[in-house]
Symmetry: C2
Subunit: 356 residues, 2 copies
């Protein structure tokens, strides 16, 4: 294999100093147009490629950032990552993704490994023990910012959607269809949730659910809250209880899936109990992830502005990398309702407010 061609090689071939080559290639001002051209030409013909390592060692910056994601693929964060990739590329930064799934040792191990990866900062997206990761980053002086919040306190700049308002939007939509017995299906994310407290996204969504009920004067019924651990295997106790209730004839006429990923299981279960969607039960999800259009019927859901969130994340991170101060608070983004067939109006139901 051909030995790597270095600055010195180019310098020799172009008959100029190595410093000049560096400047010519780096578009610095104090080099004549003529030499710049010549150096350029020689470098190209020699197939010169700068060593990112050497450059990083010298300058102390890698021009690369990392995102830590829960898994390689499959999740609401995909579009966020995609957007972040693009945003980073636009300012000449390279972005790399680090899935934590399957890694043993969890957050700590991830950051441990990250210490060996050339990166100027990290974006932590919806991983368990988000705070732990961020703090570990802090310890090794790595700027970090978080997206979504799986930790109750805000000790790092945190980007999230307006979860409470979004949930309210969802449930209001169901109510506007004339639904009144609305179940809340919640993903269990491995940390204790606190229905009323501030913090976890799922808490906010629960609050939004209550907000909508309250405004509509519908009594809150705790038995309609169902926690669901595994969206694919439906192992959670509460979920089985719902199934039991359904088979004993308890009726719900709507369901707010606080995460799209559970929609498949929900649909299957409802169907198994002879309930039709959207005729008998209307469903609204949250996240607008790709599963939403895969299921049948396609899912009405709450969409987060993933692109904006991803872009803003890199923007914030770059600021932090450049030493600017970034407020430690939650940066919230507005959500919108995406209507699909899971909330088609089956028949003309009399609505509370009398509109069509």
């Amino acid at each position: 294999m051909p030995r790597k061609v270095t600055l010195a090689d180019v310098s020799r071939a172009a008959e100029v100093g190595v410093a000049t080559v560096s400047r010519a290639l780096g578009d610095h001002p104090d080099v004549s147009e003529a030499t710049r051209q010549r150096v350029r030409a020689v470098a190209r013909s020699l197939g010169y490629r700068p060593s990112a390592t050497a450059r990083a060692l010298r300058t102390g910056e890698y021009r690369a950032i990392s995102v830590i994601v829960p898994d390689a693929g499959w999740g609401w964060w995909e579009p966020v990552v995609r957007a972040a990739f693009k945003a980073a590329a636009e300012v000449g930064y390279y972005l790399m993704a680090h899935p934590v799934a399957g890694t043993k040792g969890g957050a700590a191990a991830i950051v441990e490994a990250l210490a060996n990866v050339p990166t100027d900062g990290v974006i932590v997206i919806g991983v368990p023990d988000q705070d732990g990761v961020c703090e570990a980053c802090d310890r090794i002086a790595l700027p970090a910012i978080a997206i979504d919040d799986t930790s109750r306190t805000v000790r790092f700049p945190t980007i999230s959607a307006q979860n409470r308002e979004g949930a309210r939007l969802a449930v209001e939509h169901l109510i506007s269809l004339g639904r009144r017995s609305i179940a809340l299906l919640r993903p269990n994310i491995g940390v204790e949730t606190d229905n009323w407290g501030d913090g976890l996204f799922i808490d906010h969504r629960t609050l939004g659910y209550r907000d909508a009920l309250d405004s509509a004067g519908i009594a809150f019924d705790e038995s309609l809250i169902i926690d669901c651990t595994d969206p694919f295997n439906e192992t959670r106790k509460h979920w089985r209880e719902l199934e039991a209730e359904l088979s004993t004839g308890v009726r719900i006429d709507a369901m707010f899936c606080a995460a799209d990923s559970m929609a498949g299981a929900a649909l299957r279960t409802l169907r198994a109990h002879g309930l039709k969607v959207p005729e008998d039960v209307s469903i609204v999800g949250f996240d607008d992830e790709r599963a939403a259009i895969l299921v049948d019927p396609q899912l009405t859901t709450i969409r987060q502005p993933y692109e904006e969130m991803g872009c803003y994340a890199v923007e914030l991170l770059l600021r932090k990398i450049q030493g600017e101060h970034v407020d430690i608070r939650r940066y919230e983004f507005v959500t919108e309702l995406v209507r699909r067939s899971s909330t088609d109006e089956p028949e003309r139901l009399a609505k509370p407010d009398g509109t069509t």
Copy 2:
């Protein structure tokens, strides 16, 4: 922020030479146990972390490899990447993922960017212009190996499933259910396919389809082949033709989806035309990606041994990195049929071979 602590700092604090520190930390033989302990302790208390950059610059190896994937998430390659991550970690290598989706410039640009990323080699997974990417890697002396094949020739070590045998398995299963009018739904992958030639995975799957038909003595009917560009939007002409046929009463009783990602659309379309799965139409997919268990009914499909493939990929790549010779050929892995409800036997159909 605290300045980074270097070898020199540790050396000063431990009152030994920097070379000794390096050796002590690196578990080299010629350093006394006593000093090793002391250096270790000092390093820990100072919070020393070796600079991966400096080390890489000196040693010339990064102990990191890259995977290039079509997209950030959502696809059959997810488990491959996951397995590769693990395999790499086990031998002390770090793996990073590079999605090409959204990148402008395609393959060339990717590798261009990769030149600035510290990596010892790359695994290219199912991206368009796979050959182009591999060749670009070759040019910059980056060891590369490919997984799956979206190029017709094998100019790089290529890992793939036994696509032909897998497809045969799928279709034989359908035939064993008594089905005889079996549609083949194919993903369009952006390159011209050649039904009979060797190369693209989809060609192999088509061949397997024919193999099964031939063995069962079922005549091949070209009009049952449907090409489908976008699994989510179903825009392809042939697909609309199928829909048209279905509505004019043309009957199929089974469908082999040559990629799971199309199953959602297929199911929706069939349902829209009043056909029930699995009662009226049996469906088998290919890939066993996560979509397979999300759809309703859950999809019988052909599973590739993703974990093995991912592990083998890093094994092969590491060998290449270490300068060993790696045969340039296709490394094929056996597939298996995963039975789910989309091929439940609806009623007792008379089977050709008379078995139950």
